[in-house]
Subunit: 476 residues, 2 copies
């Protein structure tokens, strides 16, 4: 039998694990700096917790787990009942297909479930971050996996736009620390989108219009117009939608600069909303401005990345109700590497009403691919162990073990080749493992109580006292 | 709908996550010091990879995942084929129960599968550690979960007993760092157990005898004898088994001290093996001695924990073939908190023969319970955020945001209460979150460019310059 792993899943080799950990721990440090706290939920949720939360398509992509009937009285009872039904119906009944559990599909629904279950113990506003795998039975393809990591932070129980501003800072600081270049954080408001749709007189087709606008990056301006036509918008509706969308795009090359340039566009939109008395649009614009004002106070002047208003930003058919944001990099051709926004009633799904929240997510797999392509990972992540002790056997092995003990006591990651194998074989091992130093401990070294230290990169070899070698290895 | 989580699974609150992370990162640091490298495998494995590896009982406890038929052509084909069979057989055929994937049951089989799949790229001996959850459909009970973490390190491709000695060191150093008291590392050899059984003339009942001896901690000496009788051993067999077992137990209070005391017992066992010409026993004893010799060379003199030979140690019906070890603590009533040993042909299951390995495992959940019961976690893990800025609204909110920015730039984890809520409510929040400091920034502070810093534990409150407050918070 030739072993394999399921389609759409991955093994992570040592260097891949280290690089992924580097991303996760960098983001974690930022979350902690902003007062967010870690949370972990089980991989399995009750099926009832998940179904109906992700739309029809989502429901189909949930991985369901078979009950292990023998171990649950409840299941045994069900099976018995099914048997009786079978007799009544005079046909066999498949009693084995009982699924009550499923694999986590995202981190947001389990978070909402957790908040509702623990509402009486939690301090609100509750700020949590969560970094765990999720599973989706999507058709596997390049960059899309059936098991992948999400990395979210959310705060619930507060309407303050300070939260939105802080999330912008978290994106800034995290991508800055990860040294990813040409990052743009786009921001918009679902309220403004709704207002634009209301203005165009297409509120009855709001979902279709948002879906069409959401495809802009893939199909462009003409493609979006085709979609508008396809869903049955009339000319006047399309003209009004495009008036706002085009106006903003033309005037500012798809973008409105936060720092004052082209603010005319945003003012013009506000005028339109006021003229047409579209309250939700006025509120949306005020929220957007207030968020950016807060951001300006708490931002660090050295952050390199841009914040840009983009009225085309829609964030798909998610549950967002207020400010939305999305992160992209211009350095690599790749979709968004992060996104999020405000949702007004997430915990309402589980019976806890009126708890507004806002959160963002980091696309760990895509961030990994970007950093790999641009060679941004610190070189140190390539190596684990610092030095390999060559094993010459017998008395020399014993001497090597004594040195090994001292290396580890000096906190230097070290290993000995466990057998007195051929010298070449041992060197080859060090090379394959990318261990940067080897130590040769033969008769001379043992008799003189010295070590020979070979730098595997430069090829340099020195005979040193034990203390000298510890010093070099500690400070290199 | 009242939300809940599946039986036998757990949510981990912020402080629980931090404590668990503390255990895992402590152990990880030790693994890395000894040159082990991280590996991660997918949560799902192909069902064929797992079935037949854990015995009949184990197979039943594997969580199987339902295929999502719509998304796989293969499944559609199968369903069609099943339909045709149904017609031929003239009875309905359940085509929906297709399971080809299952959740990881342990970390060892996926590791073996990985080694076989990547045998041409890996540097052997391959040293890896792995810390991931596993799933078992066991009946949930106190301390037994359906999702729990394993934390393993293994090396394959070497017969050297240096590996066994290093694993003893890893146990020593990790439990030392975790400050768990009264730790005992018991060591034995499967070869010695086999020899004892051979000496007693019960080799045809070896599995039953090992199973009985394995229960010693639960049922005691008399209980084990009852088991011997139950499986059909005769008096002479029981006498011979007990001769060795009792002899060793009586002579050394169940234990043989490594440091020379009571070595008479081990010598007596060797004499018996030589007299009876039981080669496997002589080899086993030599391996045990050699392991302890290696250990003596590389051990740190300050380690507090005991290594003890225990010929009763069996480690259940696992695949072990050589040295075995198990860790317990006398400070808390609890089963073993770690265990492992040598296995000679693990990868043989997947077609790669003659690759000997040895590994150990840490029982993370039990270690957590021990540390919690003995109050061993560092107090700092209780808090995340260092300081809460009270929000007095308006101009003062703006001033607070300016201070917040400076706190974070000084790398101090800080947050502002996002709304200008009642003072009491904000203090209550800080208290519930166990945030150690609050900062009060009202009219006076804003006008004088100062801050009022309140230590939440002592109740002390000081008016300070911003720089002074940063200093205090950085160094507390």
């Amino acid at each position: 039998m030739k072993p394999s792993i399921p389609q759409g899943t991955r093994d992570f080799s040592p260097v891949e694990v280290r690089k992924r950990q580097f991303i996760l721990s960098t983001i974690k440090t930022v979350f902690e700096l902003y007062g967010f706290q870690p949370l972990e939920t089980p991989s399995m949720e009750n099926l009832a917790t998940l179904t109906g939360k992700y739309g029809e398509e989502g429901d189909r992509l949930i991985f369901k787990i078979l009950n292990n009937g023998l171990h649950e009285k409840k299941d045994a009872d069900k099976a018995k009942l099914n048997d009786e039904w079978s007799k009544l119906l005079e046909k066999p009944y498949s009693s084995s297909v009982v699924t009550e559990r499923a694999l986590r599909y995202d981190l947001t629904i389990p978070f909402a479930r957790y908040v509702v279950m623990h509402q009486n113990e939690l301090a609100f506003p509750f700020r949590r971050y969560q970094m765990q795998p999720v599973w989706r039975a999507d058709r596997p393809q390049k960059g899309r996996y059936r098991e992948f990591w999400q990395c979210d932070c959310d705060v619930v129980g507060t309407n303050s736009l300070i939260n939105e501003a802080e999330l912008l800072c978290i994106y800034q600081q995290a991508f800055d620390k990860l040294t990813i270049p040409e990052v743009t954080i786009k921001i918009n408001s679902r309220k403004i989108l709704s207002a634009i749709i209301e203005y165009s007189g297409a509120s009855d087709k709001a979902i279709e219009v948002i879906t069409a606008i959401d495809k802009y990056d893939k199909i462009g301006q003409i493609g979006v117009r085709d979609e508008f036509i396809k869903v049955g918008l009339n000319n006047s509706q399309i003209q009004r939608l495009e008036y706002l969308v085009y106006f903003l795009m033309k005037d500012s090359q798809n973008i409105i600069d936060v720092n004052g340039r082209n603010v005319r566009a945003i003012d013009r939109v506000e005028e339109i909303f006021i003229e047409s008395n579209i309250q939700i649009g006025i509120v949306g614009l005020n929220e957007l401005k207030q968020t950016l004002n807060y951001y300006d106070v708490i931002k660090n002047e050295n952050w390199r990345n841009k914040i840009e208003i983009d009225f085309k930003l829609a964030r798909g058919l998610n549950y967002y109700t207020g400010i939305i944001m999305e992160v992209t990099t211009g350095a690599v051709k790749m979709g968004s590497i992060g996104g999020g926004g405000r949702y007004d009633d997430l915990t309402g799904l589980f019976g806890l009403k009126n708890l507004s929240g806002v959160g963002i997510s980091f696309g760990v797999d895509r961030i990994y691919d970007v950093m790999e392509e641009l060679n941004l990972f610190p070189e140190a992540l390539e190596t684990g162990c610092k030095v390999l002790l060559i094993n010459f056997g017998g008395e020399n092995e014993l001497y090597s073990l004594q040195i090994l003990k001292q290396l580890r006591e000096a906190n230097i990651a070290a290993e000995i080749y466990p057998d007195a194998a051929k010298f070449d074989k041992q060197l080859k091992y060090a090379n394959k493992r990318k261990i940067p130093y080897v130590m040769l401990l033969g008769d001379d070294e043992r008799n003189n109580k010295t070590v020979s230290l070979k730098n595997f990169t430069t090829g340099d070899q020195q005979t040193l006292s034990v203390t000298q070698s510890l010093n070099i290895l500690q400070h290199e």
